[in-house]
């Protein structure tokens, strides 16, 4: 074979980049169907209001308008479902108020969709929407996370105290006992700031109905088209699943925000049949700010009990998590299952207890955003550990070392079993390449320039590759969490891979092709990867939680193994040998110990032209699929070091150096992995320094455009030093991979904040929340100097 093997482990340039870089990608908004019409949503200007009446007469009569729909028209259909049932400490199920596709009696956040106008053009639809008269009775808004429980107003009648659930994990009495005998307790209050996702491609949908065969086609910006279809057909619209095709073509970034079933595409599918025309909607950027599910938004207290040697005895956490106005698709499991189960971090803390109160507010729904629960856990642990080190005057790296988990598998007190890891290795590596020894000299140099220099660490762990479906089910998941893959070998030996994973920036078309080409001994260009279409791909749970390679990749490997197994039978027949005597290496089936062999393509041809073929024992054709349900999460981990310079005059923070050392297990494409880490670091640094979603007390979004919501730019970031250690391969998937998509966003915020707090320690600053904007840093310096 022509291929240079192995392909795994090589930094191969991405197959998909030619089309992206030349503008040849096909995004949802690029698709225009015959008889295309356009939708525009009228959205609530109020955070909380009762709808007394809606008058659509003028809008209906406006030029180009085909239809106007309100909540009354959709009253017969279900609400948007939540995919995870969380139960409160007392055993009661979480409160699940209806999330209507179009507002019914009330609006509950600014941007809540009130009406859909369908017209011949976007401009006509927008102009007509402006003619709809809604008589609102404004109600007091519930906005603040920490005080939502005490608010005088209820977002939903079903939850008069605005509490969706109060959930807990861990052994409370063991934790209490450990605190009673602690030599030292570190306490801090932590806010994990609300973020707005900001994928470069706004959400979009184009829904069509065909009377000819009574079927629907939906193009949509989705990270998981099969899940989108299942939720929409089975839980909301009551449509036959097999008559609905969902296509997520090229998608320009998701970061979690495109996992969910949203109201807009649901309304479009419903309306497409009534209007009899395909309807397209593409969010304007201001709609994205108001309606893409937001991320994070926790208010927590953490208490860490230590013995006199700095050994962690117990961790006690209370978190209030803001869910926003409605339960988004996975909202309930983010601040619980994906958060509190990670609170052990890299440390052998024997007892942990965490209580989470999740509240409704009159704000945009909150759901998973790159990292989803794990950044919140990591931030809380790593800020706490660093503060403990400062209080005890122990070197922060040394304190971590004293508490690292060192034997695997490790069953944590919050329900996870880490299969493997080597935290000492990533810490040692990062201390080395970050030249931590040289820090004092750099600090002195900064001081000469009037700048305060600080250094901060973060040792993160994440649980990826979710998950075993049975465990998830026991924890409240209402869906499976496996993945599906299919290998279609063509008669010429070329291969098309169909995966239920979805690529929206991750580079699956390259990485998955490397895996398959390597296993089959083919050239990379002989393998094509297809995804994102329920009409092509057998099934899929989609891409989120850094699961694509660990779960989706494994499903593909299993299908490849079936191809090889069948190929061996065919080759045995062709080579007149026993099946057990056939070995498959480098694209060739060979009789062991001889030079008698058949190339993969010859075997493929025989399967499709079965003249000389064991038809009595074997079906013709060479096409296999596999479903893979992992037996455990994967546990990527790493150590990050950040150095900052703070201008005491202005509060401005500059990241001077940022060094990352990650253990992702085996790495298929180091260039793509490095790119993923870079992107994650940029987002994490964005959260730490720049990004903060702010509502005023009336629930108006003050940061609803790029004028006020600061995304990180190239000039805000240093040149990263990123290092992937040889690592500890995952023990329970055949590729030994763990996932890398979220690590940077998980590990970096505490490293940045710890560095800033280190820089400001001499000024007496002990409390600082993200984002550490110049204004906020200046305020902290002022407060400490009083």
């Amino acid at each position: 074979m022509s291929a240079a093997q192995p392909l795994i482990g090589r930094p191969i340039e991405r197959k998909e980049d030619y089309r992206f870089l030349t503008g040849a990608g096909q995004y949802t908004d690029d698709i225009t169907l015959p008889q295309q019409s356009y939708g525009s949503f009228l959205r609530s200007p109020h955070a909380h209001a009762r709808i007394r009446s809606i008058d659509t007469a003028a809008a209906r009569a406006a030029p180009g308008v085909l239809a106007v729909f309100t909540g009354k028209d959709l009253a017969g259909i279900g609400g948007l479902p939540c995919g995870w049932l969380i139960k409160s400490i007392d055993g009661s199920p979480m409160k699940e108020p209806k999330h209507p596709v179009l507002a019914e009696d009330k609006v509950r956040h600014v941007g809540d969709q009130v009406a859909l106008v369908v017209a011949e053009s976007v401009a006509q639809a927008k102009a007509a929407a402006a003619l709809i008269e809604v008589d609102y009775e404004p109600l007091p808004a519930v906005v603040d996370t920490a005080t939502a429980v005490r608010a005088k107003s209820a977002v939903h009648d079903l939850a008069p105290d605005n509490v969706c659930y109060t959930w807990a994990i861990g052994d409370k009495s063991a934790v209490d006992a450990a605190f009673a005998r602690a030599a030292h307790v570190t306490r801090l209050s932590i806010v994990n700031n609300r973020l707005i996702p900001n994928a470069i491609e706004p959400r979009a949908a184009n829904a069509a109905y065909s009377r000819a065969d009574d079927s629907y086609t939906l193009y949509v910006t989705s990270q998981n088209p099969h899940v989108e279809r299942l939720l929409m057909t089975a839980f909301v619209l009551g449509l036959p699943e097999h008559k609905v095709r969902v296509i997520a073509p090229d998608v320009g970034g998701g970061f979690g925000s495109k996992i969910y079933l949203y109201a807009e595409e649901t309304a479009l599918v419903w309306a497409a049949r009534r209007v009899g025309r395909p309807i397209k909607w593409t969010a304007e950027r201001s709609e994205s700010f108001l309606t893409d599910a937001h991320g994070r938004d926790h208010v927590s207290t953490a208490e860490l009990a230590l013995d006199r040697n700095g050994k962690f005895l117990a961790l006690r956490v209370h978190t209030t998590a803001n869910l926003g106005a409605y339960l988004s698709t996975f909202a309930s499991c983010i601040p619980t299952i994906l958060y509190a189960t990670l609170l052990a971090g890299q440390y052998a803390t024997p007892a942990i207890y965490c209580e989470v109160q999740a509240v409704f507010t009159n704000t945009t729904p909150v759901d998973a955003y790159r990292g989803a629960g794990r950044p919140e856990a990591t931030y809380l642990i790593e800020r706490t550990v660093e503060q403990a080190a400062r209080e005890l005057k122990i070197d922060p790296a040394e304190l971590r070392r004293r508490n690292f988990i060192r034997s695997f598998p490790y069953a944590s007190p919050v329900g996870l079993t880490y299969d493997t890891g080597d935290y000492e290795a990533t810490l040692n590596r990062v201390l080395d390449i970050a030249d931590v020894k040289g820090f004092p000299a750099r600090k002195a140099d900064s001081a000469k320039r009037g700048l305060l220099r600080g250094i901060g660490y973060s040792c993160y762990i994440e649980a990826c590759g979710i998950a075993p479906s049975n465990i998830a089910g026991a924890l409240g998941a209402r869906a499976g969490l496996f993945e599906a893959g299919e290998i279609r070998v063509h008669p010429t030996g070329k291969v098309t891979v169909f995966t239920g994973s979805h690529s929206h920036g991750q580079g699956h078309e390259t990485t998955f092709a490397q895996v398959v080409a390597d296993r089959l001994g083919l050239a990379l260009e002989d393998v094509d990867v297809q995804h994102g279409d329920t009409g092509k791909v057998l099934f899929g749970m989609g891409t989120y939680g850094s699961r694509s390679l660990a779960v989706g990749g494994t499903a593909i490997v299993k299908a490849v193994d079936k191809i090889i197994a069948k190929g061996r039978k065919i080759a045995a027949h062709l080579l007149e040998a026993g099946e057990t005597d056939i070995e498959f290496t480098r694209g060739e089936f060979r009789v062991v110990g001889t030079d008698r062999k058949k190339a993969f393509a010859e075997v493929a041809l025989a399967a499709y032209v079965p003249h000389n073929y064991p038809l009595d024992k074997l079906e013709p054709g060479l096409n296999e699929n596999a479903f893979y349900d992992p037996t455990n999460f994967t546990f990527p981990a790493g150590s990050y070091v950040c150095e900052v310079e703070v201008e005491p005059d202005t509060g401005a923070v500059r990241i001077a150096r940022f060094t990352a050392s990650d253990d992702f297990g085996n790495v298929i494409n180091p260039m793509i992995v490095e790119g993923q880490v870079h992107g994650g670091l940029a987002q994490g640094i964005g959260q730490a320094l720049l990004e903060g979603c702010v509502y005023d007390s009336d629930g108006q979004l003050l940061t609803g455009s790029y004028t006020d919501y600061a995304l990180p730019r190239a000039a805000d970031l240093p040149s990263f030093r990123v290092d992937t250690v040889k690592g500890t391969p995952c023990t329970h998937n055949p590729l030994g991979v763990k996932g890398c998509g979220e690590a940077g966003a998980i590990g970096s915020p505490p490293a940045v904040m710890n560095a800033i707090l280190d820089a400001l320690a001499a000024r007496g600053v002990t409390r600082l929340d993200m984002p550490a904007t110049p204004y906020r840093v200046w305020q902290a310096i002022q407060a400490a100097s009083r």
Binding site: A652, L690, Y706, T707, D708, A710, P774
Partner: protein, 265 residues
């Protein structure tokens, strides 16, 4: 959808006539404020009077005593001009620090000054350098030009032709960007002339203004230390999510010191 007329006059006089004839018309220079405002529905003019076809409004010339910049000169052109960079490098740097490349290629000096955006850069330079704003009707000294939030001394139908900057000053401009928009959260322009020091501030209040306490301190002693003791009152300054009035007041002497440093360097 509203109807919108479009005019492209060939002279300033014709533009002024068109503007005077229709109070709902809007003059458009580079369009960097007008077009986004229209797109957001904040502005719905009956007509746009595009100044791009008026040759007399473009260009930069200098007679050695006065630098004359036509109202339709783009930020990019100001930043690149030898006639600006040699005598007033701070003004060229100011222009180079506005927005991004696209904005600098479209946005104009006259548009920025006429708009009196509270966070725009040019008004600080115009005030500190004591420029004269020449319109189709008269000459307005900088000190009487900026009157409030998006408000100037321009009468309806009155259009800026050129900005005349007296040469001979040493100047420095220090800008502290608002983290999201990169407009000036506070910008301080310091000009040192034989007649004393002028200090103008943008970003901090409803419109650009002079910081007289700093001017006095720097006129007495043109040193960075002179800025340190100056306290700026915060009561008329702006507050928003990016900074309180107190923070802005604090930044003014800090940035003045940096501008002074540029001059002394």
């Amino acid at each position: 959808m509203s109807d919108l007329s479009y005019h492209r006059p060939a002279s300033l006089a014709e533009a002024a006539r068109l503007a005077a004839a229709d109070p709902d018309a809007r003059v458009i220079a580079g369009g960097q404020s007008v077009l986004p405002s229209m797109r957001l529905g904040l502005l719905a003019p009956s007509a746009l009077i595009d100044l791009a076809g008026i040759a007399e409004l473009s260009g930069i010339r200098s007679d050695g005593r006065t630098l004359t910049i036509g109202a339709m000169t783009t930020h990019a052109a100001v930043a690149a001009s030898k006639d600006v960079r040699a005598p007033l490098p701070a003004l060229a740097r100011l222009a180079q620090g506005i927005g991004d490349g696209q904005v600098r290629n479209r946005g104009t000096v006259g548009g920025s000054v006429a708009n009196s955006d509270p966070a725009a850069d040019y008004p600080a330079a115009v005030l500190a350098l004591n420029a004269t704003i020449r319109t189709n009707a008269r000459s307005i000294p900088a000190d009487r030009f900026f009157t409030g939030l998006f408000a100037t001394a321009l009468e309806p139908g009155e259009l800026i032709g050129t900005l005349d900057f007296p040469l001979g000053a040493q100047a420095g401009y220090a800008k502290f960007p608002q983290p999201a928009s990169r407009f000036a959260l506070v910008g301080v322009f310091v000009a040192r002339t034989s007649n004393g020091v002028r200090v103008a501030v943008t970003g901090a209040g409803p419109c650009a203004f002079r910081a007289t306490a700093l001017e006095e301190a720097l006129t007495r002693s043109f040193t960075t230390e002179a800025c340190n003791g100056v306290r700026v009152a915060s009561d008329t300054l702006s507050s928003d999510v990016h900074g309180s009035a107190e923070y802005r007041a604090h930044l003014i002497p800090v940035l003045a010191r940096r501008a002074v440093q540029q001059i002394l360097a």
